[in-house]
């Protein structure tokens, strides 16, 4: 599909950085305020879909191919699984354990006590899992929208020949 007029393109490229920063804020503060990996990933994917609608799918497909997006999504899934397997090596030797704040935790970065004030360095292994799941959801939803929008262009080109 083709892009829209010049006014829409200018306003989209102005609003897009603010929407992405808000989505990354919702992902990063998932253990303090309502939000987390899935919700923040949906916000960032909506901002990327807005760019796709404003600039046209042919222009967007030239900049980002879908194999790069599938590599990013696989990285997110592998990070989530490896965080679950690290619980088998350290501390309590249980699958899917909290090996930073659990009973015999190793206590690295995220190990302050939670007292009801907004301290980012709390909550053990939960912020790392939030980043992995957020990356997976962003890449997955953007790949779905991009592939479905590009599939309708090729049909028209083939039929007109």
């Amino acid at each position: 599909m083709s892009g829209m007029s010049r006014i829409v393109k200018t306003m989209t490229s102005t609003v897009f950085p603010f929407a992405m920063i808000f989505g990354l804020y919702v992902i990063a503060h998932g253990h303090l305020t309502p939000g987390g990996g899935f919700q923040g990933g949906a916000v960032v994917a909506s901002a990327c879909a807005m760019v796709l609608v404003a600039y046209g799918s042919v222009w967007t497909m030239r900049k980002i191919k879908e194999k790069h997006l599938s590599v990013l999504e696989s990285l997110g899934a592998l990070g989530f699984i490896s965080l679950a397997f690290l619980g088998l090596i350290f501390a309590d030797k249980i699958f899917f354990d909290d090996f930073i704040m659990g009973p015999n935790g190793i206590g690295m970065i995220f190990n302050n006590a939670a007292l009801g004030e907004s301290d980012i360095f709390t909550a053990g292994v939960i912020p790392l899992m939030n980043f992995a799941v957020g990356l997976k959801v962003i890449a997955g939803l953007f790949a779905i929208v991009l592939v479905m929008a590009y599939a309708t262009v090729k049909v028209k080109e083939v039929k007109s020949k």
Binding site: G30, H31, L32, T33, P34, G36, E66, S70, E73, A77, F80, I81, A84, F96, D98, M101, F110, N111, N112, A113, A114, L115, G116, S118, T122, A123, G124, V125, I126, M129, N130, V133, K136, V137, G140, A143, I144, V147, M148, Y150, A151, K154
Partner: protein, 95 residues
């Protein structure tokens, strides 16, 4: 077409009567009224001990990622399978 429409209307009427009957006439015994759920020990334990055991300030996130992490693993698998299926449908085979 007439027979199919008649069967569909009968099915819809049966489902509607069943749902309305089960909400209107079965309060205070099986379906608790809005605002008084059953007394649940698991949820009270989670609310009391989240800050000391997991160290998080958000109750819902600690349930999703710590107390019930297996469900999140299954959900990540479903999302991955759906994305793989959508990209598979629109593949172009080079001739």
């Amino acid at each position: 077409m007439n027979k199919r429409d008649f069967l569909a209307l009968a099915f819809l009427t049966v489902i509607a009567v069943f749902l309305v009957f089960s909400v209107v006439f079965m309060f205070d015994e099986d379906l608790h009224p809005f605002g008084e759920p059953t007394e649940n020990d698991m949820d009270q334990y989670i609310i009391d001990n989240t800050q000391t055991e997991t160290g998080a300030d958000n109750g819902v996130t600690s349930v999703v990622f710590d107390y019930r992490g297996f469900d999140t693993l299954g959900e990540a698998t479903v999302l991955f399978t759906a994305v793989a299926g959508v990209i598979l449908v629109f593949r172009r085979l080079k001739k």
